[in-house]
Amino acid sequence: MGHDTHIHEKSVAQHEFDRRKNAVEMRKQVVNFAIMILFTFIAFAVVVADFSPYFIKPFILLLAAVQVVLQLYAFMHMGEKHASHIGTINTFVWVGAIIAFTVFLCFLTIIWW
């Protein structure tokens, strides 16, 4: 533990570059956010618009799934390659999701009457 941090001063160019990079990234996040808002609107809209439930249900579930993936990979940085141990984390999250999904599916299908 401990002595793994030493102070390292960036060059001006590097510093400027990093700031720009961060800003670009932030703009991307805003776009992601816009997409999420849009999806939410669409989800509410199709329900209000009263389409056939056979269409609406899978459709809004799909929208929800996409939103969640966006959250996970954009806001929560699951896609960032250099974050520490991110591969392992990805594995854990998806295994968790599969288990959650199995429980869900079973409750909705074979084990319920």
Partner: protein, 209 residues
């Protein structure tokens, strides 16, 4: 790691939240915790779906009649926006702008409070005006427990973030508190993820019947 090391924007490392071992541990730790929370919510969700609309014989309140969309929509917007504001906070953390972190985290808290307020209002309406209390039926128990568990997560998140803001208001960013902010923001996003499912499955699909 020395908490007293003063950083400048130029010496502030990339991924400051993950350069120390403690930071890495926090980062991995909050994720593993979220994994376990995923299964927790899955269990509550599955129960809700199994018990939806079921109550004592002759129960007259169903999801279709009970839920409205206006409130849910506003709540969704508040929570989604708070997700974005906490991303802003993390953006400022990258640039070593501790003021920015505090302000945006503060906005996040305000939005979260707004969400919570609406949720409490909603529960109050259902309980008092609709006669749909916690003990009314299996459906009501499942509903309040599902949405309430999410609400509890919101409360914990708010306390956590508020604590971080108060605690670090004066001392600026360092390698000791950066991971804490980061973990709190990831947790906050997760709350949003759960809400996406709640508004879809409980409210939207509830209104469909």
């Amino acid at each position: 790691m020395d908490i007293n090391t003063k950083y400048t924007p130029k010496t502030w490392p990339d991924h400051a939240e993950q350069v120390t071992l403690e930071g890495k541990n926090k980062f991995v730790g909050i994720w593993i915790f979220i994994c376990s929370d995923i299964v927790l919510f899955a269990s509550v969700f599955a129960t809700y779906l199994a018990l939806k609309d079921s109550g004592p014989s002759g129960m007259d309140i169903t999801a279709k009649e009970l839920f409205g969309l206006e409130l849910a929509f506003v709540m969704t917007m508040l929570l989604l926006t708070s997700s974005l504001t906490s991303v802003y906070a993390m953006y400022h953390m990258k640039n070593f702008n501790s003021k920015g972190v505090l302000i945006w985290m503060g906005i996040t808290v305000l939005l979260g409070l707004g969400f919570l307020g609406l949720e409490i209002y909603e529960f109050y309406e259902y309980t008092v005006h609709e006669g749909f209390g916690f003990t009314h039926s299996a459906f009501s128990s499942a509903f309040y427990l599902l949405v309430g568990t999410h609400g509890l997560h919101v409360i914990i998140g708010l306390i956590w973030i508020t604590g971080l803001i108060i605690r670090n208001a004066k001392r600026g960013l360092n390698l000791y508190n950066a991971p804490k902010f980061f973990a709190a923001s990831i947790y906050w996003h997760f709350i949003d993820v759960v809400w996406v499912f709640i508004f879809t499955v409980v409210y939207l699909m509830g209104v469909l019947g």
